[in-house]
């Protein structure tokens, strides 16, 4: 099946149900990281860093089945 595994962090957790902030999302027809964010209801301006399979990726990156997507907001406290 054409799924990617999405994990979100910090403030973005509120966009996923469940304790583990993980979701398996179906990708048919060349979905991008930005499409996934929209599907989850995450405003693009809240997304600062995205990693696909542990590599930094832009919102326009097209996802492949089995990709692991991690989405982070900016953190800057000291």
């Amino acid at each position: 099946m054409n799924y990617v595994r999405v994990r979100v962090f910090a403030t973005l957790r509120k966009h996923l149900s469940g304790e583990d902030a993980l979701a398996n999302i179906r990708i048919d027809g060349g979905k991008t990281v930005g499409d996934i964010c929209s599907e989850l209801g995450i405003p693009h301006d809240e997304v600062k860093v995205v990693f696909v399979n542990d590599h930094k990726a832009p919102l326009r990156q097209v996802l492949q089945p089995g990709d692991r997507v991690s989405i982070f907001p900016p953190i800057a406290g000291g």
């Binding site: 542990d54 800057a76 406290g77 000291g78």
Partner: protein, 286 residues
């Protein structure tokens, strides 16, 4: 003549000890370091440097030598580290680096303590509210290790003063709390050709990244600079547990960079999710 005299004093006052693994060690106690410094009219740090050059281990560093060796300890004592920001992250970094025996600390912060700092800023107490953070950190470093000299700079780093404040330092530790200021430090480090150890926190999240001049650096974490000042720490706050964890990892980066032991977390950011206990190392290379 002077060096010979110092060396002779070190060898005279050195003691043979059995190490934790039963091995023989030649060590120099703190009282002896102080006595030699007084007799030879030098700083305690010079005594410790001389001792290490003679393979005599100042007792206070005995438990560090197994990991970084006498050469590593010697290099630390001969190094200068700038800690930019003396709040949550910076206070802990100063505390650890003083214990580790970094020879000189340049601590830069123009702020003073208030009550909201008490949950995480390790040098803040109920007694020193309203006092300058750099003064408290300097005082604390002197209590911990008299071989560490501290230049306390009661000012905020700016484009105008960065070159002067960071002159001669070997590593800079970014312990600030605003994104534009972090970029300012990154630019100053690039100009000075020195590595910078970035750390940031928000709630139960933290991140560290070591940045050398020419690396993609902060752009990988915040995008192009200037579009916002703060991250989600504004709503999540800063927890003492997370701040201390991230500051310890930043300090470890400094030790690795200076001693050459291990590899810095470079072009790869470590994200700490301390809600779940997961650490994610992800590539942010050029």
């Amino acid at each position: 003549m002077f060096v010979a005299e110092l060396r002779q004093e070190v060898c005279l006052q050195a003691q043979e000890r059995e190490g934790p693994g039963g091995e023989g060690l030649t060590v120099l106690a703190l009282d002896a370091v102080r006595d030699i410094a007084r007799r030879c009219a030098v700083q305690p740090r010079e005594v410790e440097i001389c001792a290490l050059q003679e393979e005599v281990i100042p007792l206070r560093y005995q438990r560090s030598i197994g990991s970084i060796g006498t050469d590593g300890q010697l290099t630390l004592l001969q190094s200068t580290v700038a800690v930019v920001g003396a709040g949550g992250l910076g206070g802990v970094v100063c505390e650890i680096l003083a214990r580790t025996g970094v020879g000189e600390l340049v601590i830069i912060d123009g702020d003073e303590y208030d009550e909201s700092n008490l949950n995480r800023q390790i040098h803040s107490t109920e007694q020193n509210l309203k006092q300058k953070k750099v003064d408290s950190s300097k005082e604390r470093a002197a209590q911990i290790n008299s071989s560490v000299s501290v230049r306390a700079r009661d000012t905020m780093l700016s484009e105008c003063n960065a070159e002067c404040l960071l002159d001669g330092v070997d590593v800079v530790v970014d312990c600030l709390d605003s994104i534009p200021d972090r970029f300012l430090v990154e630019r100053a480090c690039a100009r000075q050709r020195v590595p910078m150890v970035h750390g940031a926190v928000a709630g139960m999240m933290g991140q560290i990244l070591t940045i050398y001049p020419g690396d993609v650096g902060l752009r990988a974490l915040y995008g192009e600079e200037g579009n916002r000042r703060h991250g989600v720490e504004i709503s999540f706050g800063n927890l003492g547990t997370v701040v201390t964890t991230v500051a310890a990892l930043q300090s470890q980066e400094v030790v690795k960079i200076i001693t050459g032991v291990g590899a810095a977390v470079r072009n790869r950011v470590l994200f700490l999710d301390l809600v779940s206990g997961d650490v994610h190392g992800v590539d942010v290379g050029n």
